[in-house]
């Protein structure tokens, strides 16, 4: 079993609905603020970006690191979380 955080599991277990962007795994307060400032205030907006990149985790990581000051681990966690969510619910 891979090591996923509690946040990841929480997010992936149910449809994201209106969850804020800080509910994503890897996105904490700081990154959350950073994303919200740019207009990504809800998790589904970030999901939109992920889908635009054709659900490619690598590209998503690039994008996230670009847009925020995320480090590799955070970006990876977030991408993974979104990917799994998509696998489960899309």
């Amino acid at each position: 079993m891979s090591t996923t955080s509690q946040k990841h599991r929480n997010f992936v277990s149910e449809p994201m609905a209106d969850k804020p962007v800080t509910a994503l795994a890897g996105i904490g307060d700081r990154l959350g603020h950073s994303l919200m400032e740019q207009g990504y205030d809800k998790a589904y907006v970030v999901l939109g970006q992920f889908l635009l990149l054709r659900k490619d985790t690598e590209l998503f990581c690039y994008w996230l690191k670009d847009v925020t000051a995320a480090n590799s681990k955070q970006a990876d966690d977030c991408a993974q979380c979104l990917k799994e969510w998509c696998d489960a619910f899309l």
């Binding site: 277990s13 149910e14 449809p15 609905a17 970006q49 635009l52 990149l53 054709r54 490619d56 590209l59 690039y62 994008w63 670009d66 489960a88 619910f89």
Partner: protein, 830 residues
């Protein structure tokens, strides 16, 4: 490539060229795709370049890349003329006449600093294949190494690289090939961004030569380096080291003492330093790990003349003899931490260059650069300020030397004070301890004579005593007899003759100690009269300077030794305690590990016994041990095993220790007495993950067909009727819903899909509500609606089903047992 000018379409198509289908290029995704494009291009170039580079490994053929061409041309152009003059640091040494000897020197000297080098070094370290270019490698390495030297700009490093190239030219062919490599090396040295390939290739050669020479891949750890160095030491005969140093010594030293080097800016005379390696003690080598920190001390307290300029760097701030003296003088000043490490450090730093020497006594092979490289690298990593703070570093070095000078002066003054007694002078002696009577009894000239007499007597006695104390043979005894005194005084000055007795009498009369002790026939007799005086002795011996030094030195050394011994004892005690503690911990951990393994074994055995009634439910202890512990480990693990057994018998409630007879012999056995837990392998429903409401489920059921996902994992299923179990489980879950007419488990689906058809949309809606979002067997189940026609396409047999299915009572899983007994009628499955 002006990737910034690409339009969206162009970006799109370019990405497609690489075989990658990008999503829409919007303002958000544009930078991402640009990065991706860049990455693709780099990969492409790498592949292309790799092919090219491998073709031209160490031959002098033209480099495929234009940058390399430039460097080559430059290097070849520069080669003939360059000398050490380029690099200011220690420009004195190195001259081209003795390339063989000097190579290392020059290389060392050249500060070629660039932060890139560190990375290069790292890459180099990681390299692979082996090359023969020993010397050259070394030179390159040293050139690279001198990274630690502050360099004002990349130029010097460039010239350094070329210089080394030039130098290598002196040597026969083997060198020529390496020039390329060197050139390649100077690539990063110059700060030009060489392709990774170059450096990695170089790194390969580099490290290979290291391997070759050092006898093992040079690890970045200092310990490994010291290990290698030790190896080098043992392999290299010291005798050869003592003679002229020459080549690389400085290099190594420089590598190891970047700080010292920085401090020692200025002309160095390496030549006189040559061949002055005195005593090299092997223990110095073992201190290599201390070296980085103590580099400064080494530089300060070097009592060996450093052989090369680099050593000069390392050694001291001043020139040769001055520094020697200074270092000696410094010794008494510095306390334990310094002096005890000074000499070994000095020895060590001497060693390091020496080892180079050992390797290439005549052939000028540039030897182990790896250890120094790594050490240097570490130095650079640890202590290296960025090249920008070049002056700051010099400043710190300067301050350090100033402090040392200060201490030196202090020491000198101290020693001088200690040794000398009253400041003598031929001038008029104004003060004397004889009181006012003296003044009044005699006239001025007489007074002067008397005082002068006394003074000279005092001095003479002091000298005698001093020399005697120092152990010089000419003065057999500390005290002088009266006749001798008289003789001496008369020799000094005829006038004294009359006043000898007078002055002696005055000495007796003086209440205080005037520096002369008078004694009678037998020693320590107090004399009260002049006639009784037979021996005169000085109470303030004045020893010669060297003697004083020596004594002071010895005193300090003794004290330092005592302190060091005490500290050593304490340290050893501490270490021993720590070691024991660690051992204890380790053993405990092993014990717990063993306990767990035993429990596992017993548990599996117990479970096996459950199924297979033929097995005995207990296991003999020795058998368990022998199955867990390898034969070769048994003796080692004996203690651990004993502890584990004891632990189990005391703390483990599920295992009972008893004695049984097995095949006629009594054995201590373990019996697993835990009743089997309900096996969690069974499939059961485990609750709902989230409440179903409008958000996560369709408002009304759409079709009568459902696709249920994540019910199982096809790879993990064991047994041959698990699909039936799954069907059962679904039926149970929807037991209140009697509208399920068809269930099909797709055994091969990765997602664990089950297809369900219901009588009507309403039934399927109920089933949806029951199933969606529940946990089954640890997996979250999701449900979605399928189109009826598709379902019928896939499962034609379902078209005709209309009998609701019920959970069967035949297959009773534990999940079902407590809840209900399955319906009395066994359902027929389609």
């Amino acid at each position: 490539m002006a990737s910034t000018q690409l339009t969206d379409e162009e970006l799109f198509s370019q990405l497609k060229c690489f075989g990658y289908t990008p999503g829409p290029v919007t303002e958000n995704t544009r930078p991402v795709y640009l990065k991706k494009l860049k990455k693709f291009r780099e990969e492409q170039q790498q592949q292309r370049g790799k092919g090219r580079v491998s073709g031209t490994s160490s031959s002098s053929t033209g480099a495929p890349r234009p940058v390399r061409h430039d460097v080559r041309r430059l290097s070849s152009g520069r080669r003939p003329g360059l000398k050490s003059s380029v690099l200011g640091f220690s420009s004195d040494e190195s001259d081209a006449e003795t390339p063989l000897k000097r190579k290392g020197l020059d290389h060392m000297k050249r500060p070629s600093r660039s932060p890139h080098l560190q990375q290069q070094q790292l890459k180099i370290r990681a390299a692979t294949p082996l090359n023969e270019a020993n010397k050259k490698q070394y030179g390159v390495g040293t050139a690279l190494k001198s990274n630690s030297f502050p360099s004002p700009d990349g130029q010097t490093s460039a010239s350094l690289g070329w210089e080394t190239g030039k130098r290598s030219m002196h040597d026969p062919e083997s060198r020529d090939e390496d020039v390329n490599d060197e050139v390649q090396n100077s690539h990063p040295v110059n700060g030009r961004s060489a392709a990774r390939l170059n450096t990695s290739k170089l790194a390969g050669e580099y490290s290979d030569s290291d391997e070759e020479e050092v006898g093992g891949p040079g690890g970045p750890e200092r310990d490994r380096r010291s290990l290698e160095l030790r190896r080098i030491y043992t392999s290299g005969p010291f005798a050869t080291l003592v003679d002229g140093r020459g080549s690389r010594i400085g290099g190594k030293n420089c590598a190891l003492n970047p700080l010292g080097n920085r401090a020692m800016a200025g002309g160095r005379e390496e030549d006189e330093e040559r061949g002055k390696k005195g005593d090299l003690d092997a223990s110095g080598g073992l201190r290599s790990h201390m070296l980085p920190r103590k580099s400064i001390y080494v530089s300060l307290g070097e009592d060996h003349r450093s052989n090369t300029g680099e050593n000069n760097h390392v050694n001291s701030e001043e020139g040769a003899s001055g520094s020697n003296m200074a270092s000696v003088a410094l010794r008494p000043r510095y306390r334990a931490s310094y002096s005890s490490t000074l000499s070994p450090q000095g020895g060590y730093s001497n060693h390091i260059p020496v080892q180079n020497h050992a390797y290439g006594p005549g052939t000028q092979k540039k030897k182990p650069t790896a250890p120094e490289d790594e050490l240097l690298l570490q130095f650079k990593r640890e202590e290296q300020p960025s090249s920008g703070s070049f002056s700051a570093h010099y400043l710190s070095m300067f301050l350090l030397t100033a402090a040392c000078l200060f201490f030196l002066l202090l020491g000198l003054m101290y020693i001088r004070m200690r040794g000398s007694g009253s400041p003598g002078g031929d001038g008029v002696i104004k003060s004397h301890p004889f009181g006012s009577n003296f003044d009044s009894s005699y006239s001025k000239t007489e007074k002067d004579v008397i005082l002068k007499l006394l003074l000279s007597l005092h001095d003479h006695l002091a000298i005698v005593a001093g020399h005697h104390d120092c152990g010089e043979q000419q003065y057999a005894s500390r005290s002088l007899s009266r006749e001798q005194v008289t003789q001496y005084l008369l020799a000094q000055n005829g006038d004294f003759k009359d006043f000898i007795d007078v002055s002696l009498e005055w000495i007796i009369r003086a209440g205080q100690d005037v520096g002369i002790r008078l004694s009678g026939q037998r020693a320590d007799d107090l004399v009260t009269d002049v006639s009784e005086i037979s021996w005169l002795e000085s109470t303030h011996p004045r020893m010669p300077f060297t003697c004083r030094f020596r004594r002071a030195l010895l005193t300090v050394m003794n004290k330092v030794l005592v302190v060091a011994v005490v500290v050593g004892l304490v340290c050893s005690v501490v270490f021993y305690v720590k070691y024991r503690w660690r051992r204890e911990e380790e053993e405990t951990r092993q014990m717990y590990d063993m306990v767990e393994r035993i429990i596992d074994v017993l548990r599996t055995h117990g479970e096996a016994c459950q199924e297979n009634r033929d097995l005995e439910p207990y296991l003999p202890i020795p058998h368990v041990r022998d199955s867990l512990v390898q034969p070769q480990d048994r003796r080692k693990m004996k203690k651990v095993w004993e502890r584990a057994v004891k632990f189990l018998s005391a703390n483990e409630s599920r295992i009972r220790t008893e004695t049984q007879q097995i095949k006629g012999a009594d054995f201590m056995v373990w019996r697993w007495i835990q009743p089997p837990l309900s096996s969690d392998k069974s499939k059961m429903w485990q609750g709902k993950a989230f409440p179903l409401d409008r958000r996560n489920s369709p408002p009304n059921s759409l079709t009568p067909c459902l696709k249920i996902r994540n019910m199982f994992d096809p790879d993990m299923e064991v047994g041959d009727s698990w699909d039936l179990a799954i069907q059962e489980a679904i039926l149970e879950k929807c037991s209140d819903n009697d509208g399920i007419v068809h269930i099909s488990v797709d055994k091969n689906s990765k997602e664990g899909c089950v297809y369900v058809k219901c009588l009507s949309a309403e039934h399927s809606g109920k089933a949806f509500k029951a199933l969606h979002g529940s946990w089954f067997d640890g997996k979250l189940v999701t449900v979605k609606y399928l189109r009826l026609d598709r379902y019928h396409q896939r499962f034609p047999q379902a078209q005709g089903c209309s009998v609701p299915l019920k959970a069967s009572s035949l297959h009773q899983t534990p999940a079902s047992c407590p809840l209900q007994h399955g319906g009395p009628n066994s359902s027929g499955f389609s």
